[in-house]
């Protein structure tokens, strides 16, 4: 039984890899299978991990205020009926508005306050040249990066120069990030190759 499983997994991996050559019926089959199974899997997962513990269990325990959420959930389903489908907009407005508000304070702290807090550092550290240079790079980098994302003024003159410095620093960090992520993707590819050549064909141990 395990051998059959290994063969199925290996053939499906090859089917997805065949896309590198061109779109073909084998890929289409693997794609449809992948999409169908994953959609079904997500439905079941959502039912047992969201619907049951977050709604059904609470209603059974007598916490009837959870009915408010349930009603909004039912309103979402009314999209299936064109005549009253507009009612689903209330649920959408609640989801988008509430969570955007919740995210706002979170972002303000993590992307604003903490970021500024970590950038308020001395520009000169007595007797430590490397830290002085490091601190200057952080402060100037953050400052010029912020200038690049300033949309109310055209990037010209000294302002434009600082904005250019900002985008250069951003590109440098993107380059480093690119290399780092490519390495992690290589490890994913190695993992699949290890499965095909080792687990499936037994060519490497």
């Amino acid at each position: 039984m395990e051998t059959i499983g290994i063969w199925i997994a290996a053939l499906l991996t090859l089917g997805i890899f065949s896309f590198l050559y061109k779109d073909n019926p084998f890929y289409k089959f693997c794609e449809s299978l992948f999409v169908g199974i994953s959609a079904g899997y997500w439905f079941v997962t959502t039912f047992w991990q969201v619907f049951m513990p977050k709604l059904a269990d609470n209603l059974v325990a007598g916490r009837f205020y959870y009915m408010i959420g349930a009603i909004f959930g039912v309103l979402m389903l009314l999209r299936l009926f064109p005549k009253i489908g507009w009612l689903s907009r209330w649920s959408l407005a609640l989801v988008v508005g509430t969570t955007a508000g919740l995210y706002f304070t979170r972002y303000l702290v993590s992307n604003g306050m903490v970021q500024v807090q970590n950038t308020i550092i001395p520009l000169y550290v007595k007797g430590n040249l490397s830290q002085t240079i490091g601190n200057l790079v952080i402060v100037i980098g953050t400052f010029s990066g912020l200038i690049y994302f300033f949309f109310s003024k055209e990037h010209k003159g000294a302002f434009g120069g600082l904005a250019k410095l900002g985008i250069w620093i951003l590109m440098l960090s993107f380059g480093a990030s690119f290399g780092y992520t490519v390495m992690s993707r290589m490890s994913l590819l190695i993992g699949r190759m290890d499965y095909l050549l080792g687990t499936w064909l037994g060519l490497i141990h």
């Binding site: 779109d23 992948f34 199974i37 988008v96 306050m113 990037h155 993107f174 380059g175």
Partner: protein, 402 residues
């Protein structure tokens, strides 16, 4: 005789010295002897919480870090009366003199911590083989606070930003013209739609893997609305495969509104905005298939993207589509920069919606963001200068206690 007695005395002294000294040291290190107990135990409500916690502090035992240095931990005991049975609530390693006795807020929970109720505490200093207990501290009562003082900077920041947004929206509504610098990626939108129209091929719009509440997805909805309006005007098909059912619902409403704005509601086709699957790579596999089978002329990737960004952008590139991307996910921006024709970096994505829409609401918010950035830049410059001269005032302004 005198010498003999002296010799005997010396031998005896020598013997006693070398016998008693090690014995005394062994006795001194005997762990069965209890250490000095912790003193000055205080118990009181934990500040800035929801009322289900009491904080206990104490002065370390004399054998913790000093004396015999054999205290290994402190146990915190709680009782409902000073003479009642004390039960262990928690333990901290030696060297710590604070403990937060926390509990759940739900009454059904086993670890429920009732607020407005008297509790008494003792702290037990433990060695490997013995322990000693402090006196009883209390009564201590837990109660919730309406306002978290440590988060005052967040409150002030939110309030100030809200005022700025409202003020700028009001100015924009009164007709004040606001300048927004050109964004290359957005300037290319018209050309990209025109290309699709000329080629008679559809446009693919990917909202990413974010939920409908992600800021990047919300910004993407606004851009989708403008693009849908233009595609309706050009009679070009737009395909929006979604990864999340709620995102799909909002996307359907957004595209529908775009077609209505263009005066072509008859052209709107709901089946072109559809849900695929919520699983990342299954979604990618399906979108890749759509790109090659539908031969899309233009692909937009605007929203929240993760590891799928490069796979999508590479497939689009192989298919020969013009590609415009934008995300606030730092790790994915490099891939979009490398594999697509135009990229909106981070906040440019948010600005793009205002730039395209030119609506007072969005322009006002963008201007408020710029003003907030100017304030941050000023604070940063002044803060760095202040830190260089050892003034900590600016740092305190941005310090948030969680």
């Amino acid at each position: 005789m005198r010498y003999k007695n002296l010799r005997s005395s010396l031998v005896l002294t020598f013997f006693l010295f070398f016998l008693i000294l090690p014995l005394s040291q062994i006795l001194a290190q005997d762990d069965t002897l209890p250490p000095p107990p912790p003193t000055e135990v205080k118990a009181g409500d934990t500040p800035n919480d929801n009322g289900h916690s009491i904080t206990i502090t104490w002065k370390l035992s004399g054998d913790d870090g000093a004396g015999k240095k054999n205290v290994v931990a402190y146990e915190i005991l709680r009782s409902e009366s000073p003479t009642g049975e004390f039960v262990v609530r928690g333990m901290v390693p030696a060297g710590n003199n604070t403990y937060q006795d926390r509990g759940a807020k739900e009454k059904e929970d086993k670890n429920y911590f009732p607020p407005h109720k008297d509790f008494y505490y003792k702290v037990r200093a433990k060695t490997l083989n013995s322990y000693s207990e402090s006196g009883v501290a209390g009564p201590a009562v837990a109660y919730g606070q309406w306002f978290h003082i440590g988060k005052l900077p967040v409150f002030v920041g939110t309030l100030a930003f809200t005022i700025m947004v409202l003020a700028f929206i009001s100015l924009a509504r009164k007709g004040k013209e606001f300048y927004v610098r050109p964004l290359a990626g957005i300037d290319a939108v018209d050309d990209a739609i025109g290309r699709a129209t000329e080629m008679g091929r559809p446009i693919l719009y990917i909202l990413g893997l974010g939920s409908a509440a992600d800021i990047a997805t919300i910004a993407s909805f606004t851009i989708l609305n403008r693009i849908a309006k233009k595609t309706a005007e050009h009679k070009t098909k737009i395909i929006v495969p979604c990864n999340d059912p709620i995102v799909m619902s909002v996307a359907q409403e957004t595209v529908k509104a775009g077609y209505l704005d263009a005066g072509r509601p008859d052209m709107y086709k709901e089946e072109n905005i559809f849900y695929l699957t919520s699983m990342q790579f299954a979604y990618v596999a399906a979108v890749n298939g759509i790109m090659l089978r539908e031969k899309t002329a233009t692909n937009f990737y605007l929203g929240k993207f993760y590891a799928e960004s490069l796979i999508l952008a590479e497939t689009g590139s192989v298919a020969g589509s013009i590609q415009i991307s934008g995300t606030d996910e730092l790790a994915q921006i490099p891939f979009f920069v490398a594999a697509t024709d135009f990229t909106l970096i981070g906040e440019e994505l948010y600005a793009a919606s205002a730039y395209l829409g030119r609506e007072p609401l969005l322009l006002g918010a963008l201007k408020a963001q710029d003003l907030a950035k100017a304030i941050v830049m000023l604070s940063l410059a002044l803060g760095a200068l202040a830190a260089s001269f050892h003034f900590g005032f600016f740092l305190k302004l941005f310090t948030v206690q969680m």
